[in-house]
Amino acid sequence: MSLVFVTVGSTRFDSLVEKVCSQELLAVFEKLGYSRLVVQYGKSCAQFTATNSVNFSVSGFDYKSSLDSYYDSAELVISHAGSGSILNALRREKKLVVVSNQSLMDNHQQELAQELADLGVLVQSSVSTLASSLNNINSVTLKKFPPQNSSAVKSLFQNIL
């Protein structure tokens, strides 16, 4: 029951939700050996389609108080470029494909995705190139995301109180 988890975060990402539910992408997921797709679609409910075939099931929801179990059990995470989703996937050492939302006015999110793609810890893609990024995913070797420096966190708070 190999799982792909797609998350759009707290707002919406119509074109991504529509894309991952398309026949084209479902065929790619199946070819890569996945059997289940779960989509956290936020406000993009109209773009979501649930399907259930013998080999592949697609389910989804708008929001849940915790997405931890999905991140934990996913083998592949496809996410919008929000820092929360990126961190949740990378901290669990999941294979991560980030799709930037070009329709956002303030496109600073792309900076983060680009920087992390340059570090080699995730794959950066777009809605139109997602299928080919996924087709190549097994030939890409991703680096390990550097761990949190908890002594740095502690030193930050020293001498304050």
Binding site: S66, S83, L87, L112, E115, N149, S150, K154, F157, I160
Partner: protein, 168 residues
């Protein structure tokens, strides 16, 4: 006092607090905005602190709200921030970018000028901000006691900023 935002801000804040060790502070007040119950749930799911409470603050401006009505909602948010500061009198205010930080930090700054209360403000810019500060970051750059960024590119443009490798 820890100020939560939505989505990524909350994820980052939880990571930072976990890195610090949740018992680092004897007492924590978590501030969250009225449109963001998810943060409260996320915090409750992530850690339990023996002496913590959650305080709700109304949003200054919703996405898409008209400017005229946002004058009143901003005043309301500001007044709530002032009363929350008075009732909790925190030693330290930790915020990491959501807009609800702004009225809280401004209120604490006014208190400090008046000599009524002194809270240290630690601002930690979001991990998402690689080369440009958020609007909240720009507004609070001079009002924070410690202004922390999570990427090393800000030293030239914002000399007061401090960088400490991976915090999240």
């Amino acid at each position: 006092m820890v100020v939560f935002g939505s989505g990524g801000h909350t994820t980052e804040m939880i990571q930072i607090l976990n890195g610090l060790g949740v018992d680092y502070f004897q007492k924590i007040s978590f501030i969250y905005s009225s449109q963001d119950i998810l943060s409260k749930d996320a915090a409750l799911n992530s850690f339990r602190h023996k002496n913590s409470k959650f305080i709700l603050i109304p949003r200054a401006r919703r996405v898409g709200q008209s400017y005229f009505s946002s004058v009143f909602t901003t005043i309301n948010a500001f007044m709530t921030s002032v009363s929350v500061l008075v009732s909790t009198s925190p030693d330290i205010i930790i915020c990491n970018g959501p807009a609800i930080c702004v009225p809280i930090v401004i209120a604490s700054y006014i208190y400090r000028i008046l000599g009524l209360e002194y809270s240290s403000v630690v601002y930690i810019e979001s991990f998402a901000r690689v080369k440009t500060l958020s609007l909240t970051g720009k507004l609070l750059y001079r009002l924070s006691d410690k202004f922390v960024v999570q990427w090393p590119y800000f030293k030239k443009t914002y000399p007061r900023s401090e960088y400490y490798s991976y915090l999240v």
